[in-house]
């Protein structure tokens, strides 16, 4: 196997560009866990422990990628935004998580036996 072929089979090539930042990955993990759920923007911000600005940027990026849908509404005259993962987002998260697990698994299998 050539060096080029080895590079292509490395699990990092399965990583999804849209999920490469910790905030975006955590967001999708929250939205597309075991079951598809819809989460209010502020609640999601608190859950993943970030700020409004970072979350807004992440929402824009994932929305562009087609990984989540944004729904806006009002609760007692206060605007509120809900986020929900799309089937494409759920699938992308699955592939990305598998690649991360493969990277972790690869490192464990290459650890010297004690």
């Amino acid at each position: 196997m050539t060096d080029q072929e080895l590079n292509r089979t490395h699990p990092r090539h399965q990583l999804d560009d849209a999920l490469l930042t910790p905030v975006r990955f955590s967001m999708m993990a929250a939205l597309a866990g075991d079951v598809a759920i819809e989460i209010d923007f502020t609640t999601l911000r608190n859950i993943i422990e970030t700020d409004d600005s970072a979350l807004s940027k992440a929402v824009s990026r994932l929305h562009e990628a087609g990984y989540l849908t944004v729904r806006k509404g009002y609760v007692a005259n206060k605007p509120r935004t809900w986020l929900k993962a799309t089937p494409a987002g759920v699938a992308a998260l699955g592939i990305h998580s598998a690649a991360l697990q493969a990277i972790v698994g690869g490192a464990i299998s290459h650890q010297p036996q004690s």
């Binding site: 990092r12 930042t21 759920i37 609640t43 859950i47 509404g73 697990q101 972790v104």
Partner: protein, 298 residues
């Protein structure tokens, strides 16, 4: 392209090592636990349960109205008043419930699937078929209405029970929902107004004359206005999002009384102005009281 994007993103982790990957996976696990802790199972269970009950009452009443033998002296034009009263009630209900769902900060998005979806579709098909056949004079037993109502509402009822089971098994450990603020002035006015709307709709059903048909038409136009302005400050979804337990109980009683009054008037000879006025006041009262009690509490 990917590399250039990667280069632009300072937080990007494409060249990650195993430790970074493990950290990300751990963070994702922690996030999942927090989401589970904060998921509100109780509110969806309540909404689904009340929705199923209201739909059952509506479908049963609607079909009973169609399948009941026509009374002497009740004009066909007035028959449409009964039907439109029920339609108005369920349209209001759907808008309010839409708003109530907005209260949920984390909700499971689980649409009906499999046999439950099929059961509901069969029920809906039967509902339309019976309603259409009744127009052409085909008669059905009262039990047919019950069977169809059960077919349509059972899947929702089962979904509600499942949510209730989840609520019991997963009590929210993190109080994500802040205490409910008192009802705003506009919401109090709209709630009392909705009570008056239901009251007038109920009163009109007991007055079989031309004016009642005209009044019913105006009520429908008013409802149409409410539905067009659904996103406005005075829209029904916003009202539903602001209501607390008292308002929902008040609404449930008003809704049931309105449907009951319509059925009683349609199937008996109690079509007098007094029945209309007293019935209308009784229908309006629970919703009006739900705002007054809240005001006293403040």
């Amino acid at each position: 392209m990917m590399d250039s994007e990667h280069a632009r993103d300072p937080e990007s982790t494409r060249d990650m090592d195993a430790a970074t990957a493990a950290q990300l996976l751990d963070a994702a696990d922690r996030v999942s636990v927090r989401v589970n802790d904060g998921t509100d199972f109780r509110t969806p269970a309540l909404i689904q349960g009340w929705g199923a009950a209201a739909l059952f009452i509506y479908v049963t009443a609607f079909l009973l109205l169609f399948t009941a033998p026509a009374l002497d002296g009740v004009e066909s034009a007035h028959g449409t008043t009964f039907v439109s009263t029920l339609v108005m009630a369920i349209l209001v209900q759907s808008q309010l419930v839409h708003g109530a769902r907005h209260q949920i900060l984390i909700s499971l998005a689980a649409p009906l699937r499999g046999w439950k979806l099929w059961l509901q579709l069969i029920g809906l098909a039967l509902f339309i078929a019976i309603a259409a056949a009744s127009v052409f004079g085909v008669k059905f037993g009262w039990w047919v209405s019950l069977v169809v109502a059960v077919c349509i509402t059972a899947p929702l009822g089962l979904a509600s029970l499942r949510s209730a089971q989840n609520a019991r098994g997963n009590p929210a450990r993190v109080p994500l929902v802040s205490p409910r603020p008192p009802l705003s002035r506009s919401a109090r006015v709209m709630t009392a107004g909705l009570g008056a709307f239901f009251g007038v709709a109920g009163a009109v059903t007991a007055m079989p004359n031309l004016w009642s048909s005209v009044a019913n038409l105006f009520l429908f136009l008013f409802l149409l206005l409410l539905m067009i302005g659904w996103n406005a400050r005075w829209g029904l979804p916003r009202l539903g999002s602001e209501w607390g337990q008292r308002q929902w109980v008040g609404y449930g009683v008003s809704f049931t009384l309105l449907v009951a009054l319509t059925l009683v008037v349609a199937t008996t000879s109690l079509t007098t102005p007094w029945v209309g006025v007293i019935g209308g006041i009784l229908v309006a009262l629970p919703l009006a009281l739900s705002t007054l009690r809240l005001r006293r509490q403040r």
